[in-house]
Protein backbone atom coordinates (compact mmCIF):
# COMPACT_ATOMS: atom_id res chain seq x y z
CA UNK A 1 0.00 0.00 0.00
CA UNK A 2 1.21 3.49 -0.87
CA UNK A 3 -0.11 6.71 0.60
CA UNK A 4 0.06 10.24 -0.81
CA UNK A 5 -0.86 13.38 1.14
CA UNK A 6 -1.52 16.63 -0.69
CA UNK A 7 -1.35 19.98 1.12
CA UNK A 8 -3.19 22.88 -0.49
CA UNK A 9 -5.75 25.60 0.03
CA UNK A 10 -9.38 25.08 -0.90
CA UNK A 11 -9.80 26.19 -4.51
CA UNK A 12 -6.27 25.29 -5.64
CA UNK A 13 -7.32 22.06 -7.30
CA UNK A 14 -6.06 19.49 -4.79
CA UNK A 15 -9.13 17.28 -5.26
CA UNK A 16 -8.58 17.25 -9.00
CA UNK A 17 -4.94 16.40 -8.33
CA UNK A 18 -5.96 13.46 -6.15
CA UNK A 19 -8.45 12.40 -8.83
CA UNK A 20 -5.82 12.51 -11.58
CA UNK A 21 -3.33 10.50 -9.51
CA UNK A 22 -6.05 8.02 -8.49
CA UNK A 23 -7.22 7.64 -12.07
CA UNK A 24 -3.67 7.02 -13.26
CA UNK A 25 -3.23 4.24 -10.68
CA UNK A 26 -6.64 2.86 -11.71
CA UNK A 27 -5.47 2.66 -15.33
CA UNK A 28 -2.46 0.68 -14.09
CA UNK A 29 -4.91 -1.89 -12.69
CA UNK A 30 -4.47 -0.77 -9.09
CA UNK A 31 -7.17 0.04 -6.50
CA UNK A 32 -6.95 3.71 -5.48
CA UNK A 33 -9.07 5.57 -2.94
CA UNK A 34 -8.76 9.34 -3.35
CA UNK A 35 -10.54 11.68 -0.96
CA UNK A 36 -10.46 15.21 0.44
CA UNK A 37 -10.50 16.56 3.95
CA UNK A 38 -11.68 20.13 4.32
CA UNK A 39 -10.76 22.38 7.16
CA UNK A 40 -12.89 25.49 7.35
CA UNK A 41 -14.78 24.61 4.12
CA UNK A 42 -14.15 27.91 2.37
CA UNK A 43 -11.90 29.11 -0.44
CA UNK A 44 -8.32 29.69 0.65
CA UNK A 45 -8.54 27.63 3.83
CA UNK A 46 -5.87 24.96 4.29
CA UNK A 47 -7.11 21.53 3.25
CA UNK A 48 -5.79 18.09 2.39
CA UNK A 49 -6.50 15.62 -0.33
CA UNK A 50 -5.29 12.05 -0.09
CA UNK A 51 -4.61 9.08 -2.33
CA UNK A 52 -4.25 5.60 -0.87
CA UNK A 53 -3.53 2.82 -3.35
CA UNK A 54 -2.95 -0.92 -3.26
CA UNK A 55 -3.14 -3.97 -5.48
CA UNK A 56 -6.41 -4.91 -3.79
CA UNK A 57 -9.45 -2.79 -2.83
CA UNK A 58 -8.76 -0.18 -0.15
CA UNK A 59 -10.84 -0.55 3.00
CA UNK A 60 -9.03 1.79 5.38
CA UNK A 61 -11.04 5.04 5.55
CA UNK A 62 -8.95 7.20 7.89
CA UNK A 63 -6.89 10.19 6.81
CA UNK A 64 -3.23 9.66 6.01
CA UNK A 65 -0.77 10.15 8.86
CA UNK A 66 2.34 8.32 7.60
CA UNK A 67 2.56 9.17 3.90
CA UNK A 68 5.03 7.69 1.46
CA UNK A 69 4.74 10.87 -0.59
CA UNK A 70 3.82 14.46 0.17
CA UNK A 71 2.79 17.03 -2.43
CA UNK A 72 2.81 20.67 -1.33
CA UNK A 73 0.67 22.67 -3.75
CA UNK A 74 0.98 25.88 -1.72
CA UNK A 75 4.37 26.31 0.00
CA UNK A 76 3.05 29.14 2.19
CA UNK A 77 1.37 26.35 4.18
CA UNK A 78 4.80 25.23 5.39
CA UNK A 79 4.93 28.33 7.62
CA UNK A 80 2.03 27.27 9.78
CA UNK A 81 1.88 23.48 9.37
CA UNK A 82 4.27 20.62 9.58
CA UNK A 83 3.47 19.35 6.10
CA UNK A 84 5.96 16.51 6.60
CA UNK A 85 4.61 15.03 9.82
CA UNK A 86 4.75 11.24 9.78
CA UNK A 87 6.58 11.12 6.43
CA UNK A 88 8.11 7.66 5.91
CA UNK A 89 11.86 7.29 6.51
CA UNK A 90 12.41 7.03 2.74
CA UNK A 91 9.54 9.34 1.82
CA UNK A 92 9.58 11.78 -1.09
CA UNK A 93 8.29 15.36 -1.04
CA UNK A 94 7.37 17.43 -4.10
CA UNK A 95 7.00 21.16 -3.43
CA UNK A 96 5.58 23.83 -5.68
CA UNK A 97 8.52 26.25 -5.77
CA UNK A 98 6.94 29.66 -5.69
CA UNK A 99 7.80 32.80 -3.74
CA UNK A 100 11.19 31.33 -2.82
CA UNK A 101 9.95 28.35 -0.84
CA UNK A 102 12.54 27.13 1.63
CA UNK A 103 13.60 23.51 1.43
CA UNK A 104 12.86 21.90 4.75
CA UNK A 105 15.50 19.84 6.55
CA UNK A 106 14.44 16.25 6.43
CA UNK A 107 15.85 12.87 7.43
CA UNK A 108 18.78 11.27 5.60
CA UNK A 109 16.82 8.99 3.26
CA UNK A 110 13.96 11.39 2.63
CA UNK A 111 14.06 13.36 -0.61
CA UNK A 112 12.74 16.79 -1.48
CA UNK A 113 12.12 18.08 -4.99
CA UNK A 114 11.20 21.63 -5.89
CA UNK A 115 9.22 22.12 -9.09
CA UNK A 116 8.55 25.66 -10.42
CA UNK A 117 4.98 24.46 -10.93
CA UNK A 118 3.26 27.84 -10.84
CA UNK A 119 5.71 29.30 -13.37
CA UNK A 120 5.04 26.31 -15.63
CA UNK A 121 1.29 26.70 -15.11
CA UNK A 122 1.33 30.42 -15.94
CA UNK A 123 3.15 29.60 -19.19
CA UNK A 124 1.06 26.58 -20.18
CA UNK A 125 -2.39 27.08 -18.64
CA UNK A 126 -2.35 30.83 -18.10
CA UNK A 127 -3.42 30.53 -14.45
CA UNK A 128 -1.37 29.80 -11.31
CA UNK A 129 -2.65 26.23 -10.93
CA UNK A 130 0.53 24.19 -10.51
CA UNK A 131 -1.11 20.83 -9.84
CA UNK A 132 -0.47 19.12 -13.15
CA UNK A 133 3.15 20.31 -13.33
CA UNK A 134 3.55 18.99 -9.80
CA UNK A 135 2.23 15.52 -10.63
CA UNK A 136 4.42 15.45 -13.73
CA UNK A 137 7.31 16.06 -11.32
CA UNK A 138 5.90 13.41 -8.97
CA UNK A 139 5.92 10.81 -11.76
CA UNK A 140 9.55 11.62 -12.65
CA UNK A 141 10.78 11.78 -9.05
CA UNK A 142 9.14 8.59 -7.78
CA UNK A 143 8.66 6.36 -10.83
CA UNK A 144 5.21 5.53 -9.42
CA UNK A 145 3.39 6.49 -12.62
CA UNK A 146 4.25 6.74 -16.31
CA UNK A 147 4.19 10.14 -17.90
CA UNK A 148 1.98 8.80 -20.68
CA UNK A 149 -0.59 7.43 -18.23
CA UNK A 150 -0.87 10.89 -16.70
CA UNK A 151 -1.34 12.40 -20.14
CA UNK A 152 -4.11 9.89 -20.86
CA UNK A 153 -5.84 10.83 -17.62
CA UNK A 154 -5.61 14.56 -18.39
CA UNK A 155 -7.20 13.86 -21.76
CA UNK A 156 -10.12 12.20 -19.98
CA UNK A 157 -10.54 14.95 -17.38
CA UNK A 158 -10.02 18.09 -19.48
CA UNK A 159 -11.01 19.20 -22.95
CA UNK A 160 -10.05 21.98 -25.33
CA UNK A 161 -7.52 24.56 -24.21
CA UNK A 162 -7.41 23.31 -20.62
CA UNK A 163 -6.42 19.88 -21.94
CA UNK A 164 -3.62 21.28 -24.11
CA UNK A 165 -2.29 23.44 -21.29
CA UNK A 166 -2.36 20.69 -18.69
CA UNK A 167 -0.70 18.19 -21.03
CA UNK A 168 2.11 20.65 -21.57
CA UNK A 169 2.31 21.33 -17.81
CA UNK A 170 2.70 17.63 -17.04
CA UNK A 171 5.41 17.27 -19.69
CA UNK A 172 7.32 20.29 -18.37
CA UNK A 173 7.02 19.23 -14.73
CA UNK A 174 8.21 15.76 -15.71
CA UNK A 175 11.14 17.02 -17.78
CA UNK A 176 12.15 19.51 -15.08
CA UNK A 177 12.65 16.73 -12.51
CA UNK A 178 14.30 14.44 -15.09
CA UNK A 179 16.74 17.33 -15.61
CA UNK A 180 17.38 17.68 -11.88
CA UNK A 181 17.99 13.93 -11.55
CA UNK A 182 20.58 13.86 -14.36
Amino acid sequence: MKEIRIHARAGQGAITTAYLLGYAYFLKGMYPYAFPHFGAARMGAPMNAFVRVDSRPIRLRSQIYEPDYVLVVDPTLMRGFNCFSGLKEDGVVIINDKEGAEIPKLKAKQKVFLVPANDIAMRTIGRPLGNTALIGGFAAATGELDRDTLLEVVKKRFSGKAQEGNIQAIKEGYEYIKGVLK
Binding site: Y23, P32, Y33, F35, R59, L60, R61, S62
Partner: protein, 395 residues
Protein backbone atom coordinates in the same frame (compact mmCIF):
# COMPACT_ATOMS: atom_id res chain seq x y z
CA UNK B 1 -18.12 -1.64 -16.35
CA UNK B 2 -15.54 -0.78 -13.71
CA UNK B 3 -14.96 2.96 -13.42
CA UNK B 4 -12.88 5.20 -11.19
CA UNK B 5 -15.52 7.56 -9.92
CA UNK B 6 -16.52 9.82 -7.05
CA UNK B 7 -19.17 8.29 -4.77
CA UNK B 8 -21.70 11.04 -5.47
CA UNK B 9 -21.25 10.69 -9.23
CA UNK B 10 -21.71 6.92 -8.93
CA UNK B 11 -24.96 7.43 -7.03
CA UNK B 12 -26.21 9.86 -9.69
CA UNK B 13 -25.33 7.27 -12.37
CA UNK B 14 -27.20 4.44 -10.67
CA UNK B 15 -30.22 6.65 -9.97
CA UNK B 16 -30.25 7.54 -13.66
CA UNK B 17 -30.15 3.84 -14.55
CA UNK B 18 -33.19 3.30 -12.30
CA UNK B 19 -35.15 5.68 -14.59
CA UNK B 20 -36.90 7.95 -12.07
CA UNK B 21 -39.68 10.17 -13.43
CA UNK B 22 -39.32 12.93 -10.83
CA UNK B 23 -36.35 14.13 -8.79
CA UNK B 24 -36.61 16.95 -6.30
CA UNK B 25 -33.90 18.05 -3.92
CA UNK B 26 -32.37 21.01 -2.13
CA UNK B 27 -28.57 21.16 -2.05
CA UNK B 28 -26.75 20.60 1.24
CA UNK B 29 -23.17 19.52 1.94
CA UNK B 30 -22.15 16.70 1.54
CA UNK B 31 -25.13 15.58 -0.58
CA UNK B 32 -24.68 18.37 -3.16
CA UNK B 33 -22.65 16.53 -5.81
CA UNK B 34 -25.32 13.83 -6.13
CA UNK B 35 -28.15 16.19 -7.04
CA UNK B 36 -25.90 18.51 -9.06
CA UNK B 37 -24.91 15.56 -11.23
CA UNK B 38 -28.54 14.46 -11.64
CA UNK B 39 -29.65 18.00 -12.50
CA UNK B 40 -26.89 18.09 -15.13
CA UNK B 41 -28.03 14.77 -16.62
CA UNK B 42 -31.60 16.04 -16.88
CA UNK B 43 -30.45 19.37 -18.38
CA UNK B 44 -28.26 17.54 -20.91
CA UNK B 45 -31.16 15.31 -21.94
CA UNK B 46 -29.35 12.15 -20.79
CA UNK B 47 -32.11 11.44 -18.29
CA UNK B 48 -35.76 11.88 -19.21
CA UNK B 49 -37.07 13.06 -15.88
CA UNK B 50 -38.62 16.10 -14.28
CA UNK B 51 -36.16 17.81 -11.93
CA UNK B 52 -38.10 20.06 -9.56
CA UNK B 53 -36.12 22.86 -7.93
CA UNK B 54 -37.52 23.80 -4.55
CA UNK B 55 -36.81 26.27 -1.76
CA UNK B 56 -36.27 23.75 1.04
CA UNK B 57 -35.90 20.10 1.97
CA UNK B 58 -39.43 20.11 3.37
CA UNK B 59 -40.66 20.97 -0.11
CA UNK B 60 -38.31 18.50 -1.79
CA UNK B 61 -39.75 15.68 0.32
CA UNK B 62 -43.27 16.95 -0.35
CA UNK B 63 -42.68 17.03 -4.12
CA UNK B 64 -41.42 13.44 -4.24
CA UNK B 65 -44.28 12.38 -1.95
CA UNK B 66 -46.74 13.86 -4.41
CA UNK B 67 -44.95 12.41 -7.41
CA UNK B 68 -44.88 8.94 -5.89
CA UNK B 69 -48.58 9.20 -5.01
CA UNK B 70 -49.34 9.71 -8.71
CA UNK B 71 -47.55 6.45 -9.47
CA UNK B 72 -44.18 7.79 -10.57
CA UNK B 73 -40.79 6.48 -9.47
CA UNK B 74 -39.13 9.38 -7.65
CA UNK B 75 -35.88 10.19 -5.88
CA UNK B 76 -34.44 12.69 -3.44
CA UNK B 77 -31.26 13.05 -1.41
CA UNK B 78 -30.23 15.08 1.59
CA UNK B 79 -28.04 15.33 4.70
CA UNK B 80 -28.07 16.48 8.29
CA UNK B 81 -30.27 19.56 8.88
CA UNK B 82 -31.98 18.87 5.56
CA UNK B 83 -33.05 15.42 6.69
CA UNK B 84 -34.37 16.80 9.97
CA UNK B 85 -36.28 19.47 8.07
CA UNK B 86 -37.88 16.68 6.01
CA UNK B 87 -38.84 14.75 9.12
CA UNK B 88 -42.61 15.26 9.21
CA UNK B 89 -42.91 14.53 5.50
CA UNK B 90 -40.85 11.35 5.89
CA UNK B 91 -43.36 9.96 8.39
CA UNK B 92 -46.13 10.84 5.91
CA UNK B 93 -44.33 9.03 3.10
CA UNK B 94 -44.10 5.77 5.02
CA UNK B 95 -47.62 6.21 6.42
CA UNK B 96 -48.92 6.59 2.86
CA UNK B 97 -46.93 3.45 1.92
CA UNK B 98 -45.08 5.28 -0.87
CA UNK B 99 -42.05 3.41 -2.26
CA UNK B 100 -39.57 6.29 -2.40
CA UNK B 101 -35.82 5.95 -2.33
CA UNK B 102 -33.54 8.59 -0.93
CA UNK B 103 -29.85 8.95 -0.25
CA UNK B 104 -28.78 10.24 3.12
CA UNK B 105 -25.21 11.53 2.86
CA UNK B 106 -24.54 11.12 6.56
CA UNK B 107 -23.46 14.27 8.38
CA UNK B 108 -23.43 15.60 11.93
CA UNK B 109 -26.25 17.75 13.36
CA UNK B 110 -25.98 21.35 14.65
CA UNK B 111 -25.26 23.01 17.07
CA UNK B 112 -22.39 23.62 16.93
CA UNK B 113 -22.53 23.65 13.15
CA UNK B 114 -20.45 20.89 11.62
CA UNK B 115 -20.47 19.72 8.01
CA UNK B 116 -18.47 16.54 8.59
CA UNK B 117 -19.51 12.93 8.88
CA UNK B 118 -21.25 10.98 11.56
CA UNK B 119 -24.56 9.10 11.49
CA UNK B 120 -26.67 11.24 13.81
CA UNK B 121 -28.97 12.47 11.03
CA UNK B 122 -30.37 9.17 9.76
CA UNK B 123 -30.23 7.56 13.20
CA UNK B 124 -32.47 10.36 14.48
CA UNK B 125 -35.08 9.34 11.85
CA UNK B 126 -34.94 5.76 13.10
CA UNK B 127 -38.65 5.61 13.91
CA UNK B 128 -39.93 7.20 10.69
CA UNK B 129 -40.98 3.96 8.99
CA UNK B 130 -38.19 4.09 6.40
CA UNK B 131 -35.99 1.09 5.74
CA UNK B 132 -32.39 2.13 6.49
CA UNK B 133 -29.45 0.47 4.75
CA UNK B 134 -25.85 1.53 5.54
CA UNK B 135 -23.10 1.19 2.92
CA UNK B 136 -19.47 0.39 3.71
CA UNK B 137 -18.09 1.49 0.35
CA UNK B 138 -19.25 3.06 -2.89
CA UNK B 139 -19.93 -0.27 -4.61
CA UNK B 140 -22.36 -1.13 -1.84
CA UNK B 141 -23.88 2.35 -1.98
CA UNK B 142 -24.55 1.89 -5.72
CA UNK B 143 -25.90 -1.65 -5.38
CA UNK B 144 -28.07 -0.77 -2.38
CA UNK B 145 -29.78 2.02 -4.34
CA UNK B 146 -30.71 -0.41 -7.06
CA UNK B 147 -31.98 -2.96 -4.55
CA UNK B 148 -33.75 -0.18 -2.63
CA UNK B 149 -36.21 0.42 -5.49
CA UNK B 150 -36.82 -3.32 -5.88
CA UNK B 151 -37.51 -3.63 -2.16
CA UNK B 152 -39.60 -0.46 -1.83
CA UNK B 153 -41.84 -1.07 -4.85
CA UNK B 154 -42.69 -4.71 -4.21
CA UNK B 155 -46.43 -5.01 -3.62
CA UNK B 156 -45.78 -6.97 -0.42
CA UNK B 157 -43.65 -4.13 0.98
CA UNK B 158 -44.63 -0.63 -0.27
CA UNK B 159 -42.36 1.26 2.11
CA UNK B 160 -39.66 3.89 1.49
CA UNK B 161 -35.93 3.07 1.67
CA UNK B 162 -33.13 5.37 2.82
CA UNK B 163 -29.65 4.41 1.64
CA UNK B 164 -27.15 5.87 4.10
CA UNK B 165 -23.58 6.58 3.01
CA UNK B 166 -20.98 8.39 5.07
CA UNK B 167 -20.60 12.01 3.99
CA UNK B 168 -17.23 12.96 2.46
CA UNK B 169 -15.68 9.55 3.23
CA UNK B 170 -17.90 7.94 0.59
CA UNK B 171 -19.74 10.81 -1.13
CA UNK B 172 -16.48 12.61 -1.93
CA UNK B 173 -14.34 9.47 -2.02
CA UNK B 174 -13.19 8.33 -5.44
CA UNK B 175 -12.66 4.61 -5.95
CA UNK B 176 -13.33 1.89 -8.51
CA UNK B 177 -17.01 1.01 -8.86
CA UNK B 178 -18.60 -1.59 -11.09
CA UNK B 179 -21.46 0.23 -12.79
CA UNK B 180 -24.21 -2.09 -14.09
CA UNK B 181 -25.46 -1.86 -17.68
CA UNK B 182 -28.87 -0.30 -18.38
CA UNK B 183 -30.18 -3.52 -19.92
CA UNK B 184 -29.39 -5.54 -16.80
CA UNK B 185 -30.84 -2.84 -14.52
CA UNK B 186 -34.06 -2.87 -16.54
CA UNK B 187 -34.34 -6.64 -16.14
CA UNK B 188 -33.75 -6.46 -12.40
CA UNK B 189 -35.94 -3.41 -11.87
CA UNK B 190 -39.06 -3.40 -14.07
CA UNK B 191 -41.12 -0.18 -14.38
CA UNK B 192 -43.01 0.77 -11.23
CA UNK B 193 -46.63 -0.37 -11.25
CA UNK B 194 -48.46 1.21 -8.32
CA UNK B 195 -51.30 -0.58 -6.52
CA UNK B 196 -53.16 2.72 -6.26
CA UNK B 197 -52.36 6.16 -7.61
CA UNK B 198 -53.75 9.67 -7.61
CA UNK B 199 -55.47 10.04 -10.95
CA UNK B 200 -58.13 12.65 -11.86
CA UNK B 201 -59.86 10.06 -14.06
CA UNK B 202 -60.21 7.71 -11.14
CA UNK B 203 -60.32 9.84 -7.98
CA UNK B 204 -59.33 8.52 -4.57
CA UNK B 205 -58.07 9.95 -1.29
CA UNK B 206 -54.76 9.11 0.33
CA UNK B 207 -53.76 9.90 3.90
CA UNK B 208 -57.22 10.79 5.07
CA UNK B 209 -58.18 11.06 8.73
CA UNK B 210 -57.77 7.82 10.66
CA UNK B 211 -59.55 8.19 13.97
CA UNK B 212 -58.85 6.03 17.03
CA UNK B 213 -60.90 3.26 15.42
CA UNK B 214 -58.38 2.93 12.55
CA UNK B 215 -54.95 4.52 13.28
CA UNK B 216 -53.54 1.72 15.44
CA UNK B 217 -53.95 -0.82 12.62
CA UNK B 218 -51.98 1.37 10.18
CA UNK B 219 -48.98 1.23 12.52
CA UNK B 220 -49.47 -2.50 13.12
CA UNK B 221 -49.49 -3.06 9.35
CA UNK B 222 -46.18 -1.23 8.88
CA UNK B 223 -44.61 -3.13 11.77
CA UNK B 224 -45.74 -6.42 10.19
CA UNK B 225 -44.19 -5.38 6.87
CA UNK B 226 -40.90 -4.67 8.64
CA UNK B 227 -40.99 -8.28 9.88
CA UNK B 228 -41.59 -9.41 6.28
CA UNK B 229 -38.62 -7.30 5.16
CA UNK B 230 -36.28 -9.55 7.19
CA UNK B 231 -37.18 -12.28 4.71
CA UNK B 232 -37.69 -10.09 1.66
CA UNK B 233 -34.36 -8.22 1.76
CA UNK B 234 -32.43 -11.55 1.60
CA UNK B 235 -34.63 -12.58 -1.35
CA UNK B 236 -33.81 -9.39 -3.26
CA UNK B 237 -30.12 -9.85 -2.47
CA UNK B 238 -30.29 -13.38 -3.88
CA UNK B 239 -31.89 -12.06 -7.06
CA UNK B 240 -29.29 -9.30 -7.21
CA UNK B 241 -26.49 -11.86 -6.98
CA UNK B 242 -28.05 -13.83 -9.85
CA UNK B 243 -28.29 -10.70 -12.02
CA UNK B 244 -25.02 -8.95 -11.17
CA UNK B 245 -22.79 -11.53 -9.50
CA UNK B 246 -22.11 -9.56 -6.34
CA UNK B 247 -23.03 -11.47 -3.21
CA UNK B 248 -24.16 -9.61 -0.09
CA UNK B 249 -25.45 -12.86 1.46
CA UNK B 250 -28.68 -11.98 3.30
CA UNK B 251 -28.11 -8.24 2.83
CA UNK B 252 -28.93 -7.63 6.48
CA UNK B 253 -25.50 -8.12 8.06
CA UNK B 254 -22.00 -9.11 7.03
CA UNK B 255 -19.85 -11.42 9.14
CA UNK B 256 -16.10 -10.92 9.02
CA UNK B 257 -14.03 -13.51 10.90
CA UNK B 258 -16.76 -13.98 13.51
CA UNK B 259 -16.87 -17.83 13.60
CA UNK B 260 -14.13 -18.51 16.18
CA UNK B 261 -13.77 -14.92 17.41
CA UNK B 262 -13.32 -14.05 21.08
CA UNK B 263 -13.84 -10.34 20.47
CA UNK B 264 -16.16 -8.84 17.86
CA UNK B 265 -16.91 -5.22 17.03
CA UNK B 266 -20.40 -4.39 15.74
CA UNK B 267 -20.59 -1.29 13.53
CA UNK B 268 -22.28 0.31 10.50
CA UNK B 269 -21.04 2.13 7.41
CA UNK B 270 -17.60 2.99 6.12
CA UNK B 271 -15.85 2.47 9.46
CA UNK B 272 -16.37 -1.26 8.86
CA UNK B 273 -13.61 -1.08 6.23
CA UNK B 274 -11.19 0.35 8.77
CA UNK B 275 -12.24 -2.32 11.27
CA UNK B 276 -11.60 -5.09 8.68
CA UNK B 277 -8.10 -3.69 8.19
CA UNK B 278 -7.46 -3.91 11.95
CA UNK B 279 -9.01 -7.39 12.14
CA UNK B 280 -6.61 -8.60 9.42
CA UNK B 281 -3.64 -7.15 11.30
CA UNK B 282 -4.64 -8.66 14.64
CA UNK B 283 -5.53 -12.03 13.05
CA UNK B 284 -2.02 -12.12 11.54
CA UNK B 285 -0.74 -11.91 15.12
CA UNK B 286 -3.00 -14.78 16.17
CA UNK B 287 -5.66 -12.67 17.91
CA UNK B 288 -9.18 -14.04 17.49
CA UNK B 289 -11.07 -10.90 16.55
CA UNK B 290 -13.85 -10.15 14.09
CA UNK B 291 -16.45 -7.70 12.81
CA UNK B 292 -20.22 -7.87 12.52
CA UNK B 293 -21.36 -5.23 10.05
CA UNK B 294 -24.97 -4.12 10.35
CA UNK B 295 -26.31 -3.27 6.87
CA UNK B 296 -30.00 -3.06 7.71
CA UNK B 297 -30.60 -0.90 10.79
CA UNK B 298 -34.35 -0.78 10.04
CA UNK B 299 -35.55 -3.48 10.10
CA UNK B 300 -33.01 -4.46 12.74
CA UNK B 301 -32.10 -8.14 12.28
CA UNK B 302 -32.30 -9.22 15.95
CA UNK B 303 -32.50 -12.95 15.21
CA UNK B 304 -29.44 -12.86 12.93
CA UNK B 305 -27.45 -10.83 15.46
CA UNK B 306 -28.43 -13.33 18.17
CA UNK B 307 -27.39 -16.35 16.09
CA UNK B 308 -24.09 -14.82 15.03
CA UNK B 309 -22.97 -13.41 18.40
CA UNK B 310 -24.51 -15.79 20.93
CA UNK B 311 -21.28 -17.74 21.46
CA UNK B 312 -18.89 -14.79 21.18
CA UNK B 313 -17.51 -14.00 24.65
CA UNK B 314 -16.96 -10.26 24.18
CA UNK B 315 -18.75 -7.83 21.90
CA UNK B 316 -18.08 -4.11 21.40
CA UNK B 317 -20.63 -1.92 19.67
CA UNK B 318 -19.17 1.12 17.95
CA UNK B 319 -21.72 3.88 17.36
CA UNK B 320 -21.19 6.99 15.20
CA UNK B 321 -24.20 8.65 16.78
CA UNK B 322 -25.56 9.19 20.27
CA UNK B 323 -28.96 9.04 21.88
CA UNK B 324 -28.29 11.74 24.43
CA UNK B 325 -29.44 10.55 27.82
CA UNK B 326 -29.77 6.94 26.69
CA UNK B 327 -27.72 3.97 25.49
CA UNK B 328 -26.09 4.34 22.08
CA UNK B 329 -28.40 3.65 19.10
CA UNK B 330 -26.80 0.47 17.75
CA UNK B 331 -25.69 -0.75 21.17
CA UNK B 332 -29.24 -0.66 22.49
CA UNK B 333 -30.39 -2.94 19.66
CA UNK B 334 -27.54 -5.42 20.11
CA UNK B 335 -28.21 -5.62 23.84
CA UNK B 336 -31.93 -6.08 23.18
CA UNK B 337 -31.18 -9.02 20.88
CA UNK B 338 -29.97 -10.98 23.94
CA UNK B 339 -32.49 -9.85 26.52
CA UNK B 340 -34.23 -12.87 28.04
CA UNK B 341 -32.32 -15.32 25.79
CA UNK B 342 -30.48 -18.47 26.92
CA UNK B 343 -27.15 -17.54 25.43
CA UNK B 344 -25.42 -14.17 25.31
CA UNK B 345 -21.94 -12.66 25.17
CA UNK B 346 -20.50 -12.23 28.67
CA UNK B 347 -19.67 -8.62 27.84
CA UNK B 348 -21.40 -6.17 25.48
CA UNK B 349 -19.47 -2.90 25.72
CA UNK B 350 -20.50 0.29 23.98
CA UNK B 351 -18.24 2.90 22.40
CA UNK B 352 -18.89 6.20 20.62
CA UNK B 353 -16.47 7.43 17.94
CA UNK B 354 -16.17 9.69 14.95
CA UNK B 355 -18.78 12.30 15.91
CA UNK B 356 -18.65 15.44 13.77
CA UNK B 357 -15.94 13.99 11.54
CA UNK B 358 -13.37 13.12 14.24
CA UNK B 359 -11.17 10.79 12.24
CA UNK B 360 -11.48 7.11 13.18
CA UNK B 361 -7.98 5.72 12.74
CA UNK B 362 -6.49 2.25 12.96
CA UNK B 363 -5.42 3.25 16.48
CA UNK B 364 -9.01 4.17 17.43
CA UNK B 365 -10.17 0.67 16.47
CA UNK B 366 -7.21 -1.01 18.20
CA UNK B 367 -8.16 0.93 21.32
CA UNK B 368 -11.71 -0.45 21.16
CA UNK B 369 -10.39 -4.03 20.93
CA UNK B 370 -7.93 -3.30 23.77
CA UNK B 371 -10.68 -1.90 26.00
CA UNK B 372 -12.93 -4.88 25.32
CA UNK B 373 -11.99 -6.72 28.52
CA UNK B 374 -13.97 -8.66 31.13
CA UNK B 375 -15.19 -5.36 32.52
CA UNK B 376 -18.24 -4.13 30.61
CA UNK B 377 -17.94 -0.52 29.49
CA UNK B 378 -20.90 1.60 28.58
CA UNK B 379 -20.86 4.70 26.39
CA UNK B 380 -17.13 5.33 26.32
CA UNK B 381 -16.12 8.06 23.89
CA UNK B 382 -13.02 7.11 21.88
CA UNK B 383 -10.41 9.78 20.99
CA UNK B 384 -11.74 12.36 23.45
CA UNK B 385 -9.42 15.31 24.01
CA UNK B 386 -9.20 15.77 27.78
CA UNK B 387 -7.91 19.33 27.39
CA UNK B 388 -11.20 20.34 25.75
CA UNK B 389 -13.51 19.02 28.43
CA UNK B 390 -12.49 21.07 31.45
CA UNK B 391 -15.53 22.58 33.11
CA UNK B 392 -15.60 26.35 33.18
CA UNK B 393 -18.29 28.36 34.88
CA UNK B 394 -17.01 31.91 34.42
CA UNK B 395 -17.55 34.47 37.17
Amino acid sequence: MREFVEGSQAIAEIVKLCRPGVISAYPITPQTHIVEALAQMVADGELSCQFVNVESEHSAASVVLGASATGVRAFTATSSQGLLYMAEVLFNISGLRLPLVMTCANRAISAPINIWNDQQDSISLRDSGWVQLYAENNQEAVDFHLMAYRIAEDKSIMLPVMVCMDGFILTHGMEPVDMPEQEKVDKFLPPYKPLYKLDPANPLTMGLLADPDYYLETRFAIQETFKDLLKFIPKVNEEFKNHFGRDYKDGLVEEYYVKDAEKVIVAMGSVCGTIKQVVDGLRAKGKKVGLLKIISYRPFPYARVYEILKDVPRVAVLDKAVSLGGYAPVAVEVKAAFCGKKKAPKVISSFIAGLGGRDITLESIKEVFAKLTQREINLEFIDLKPELIKEEYGE
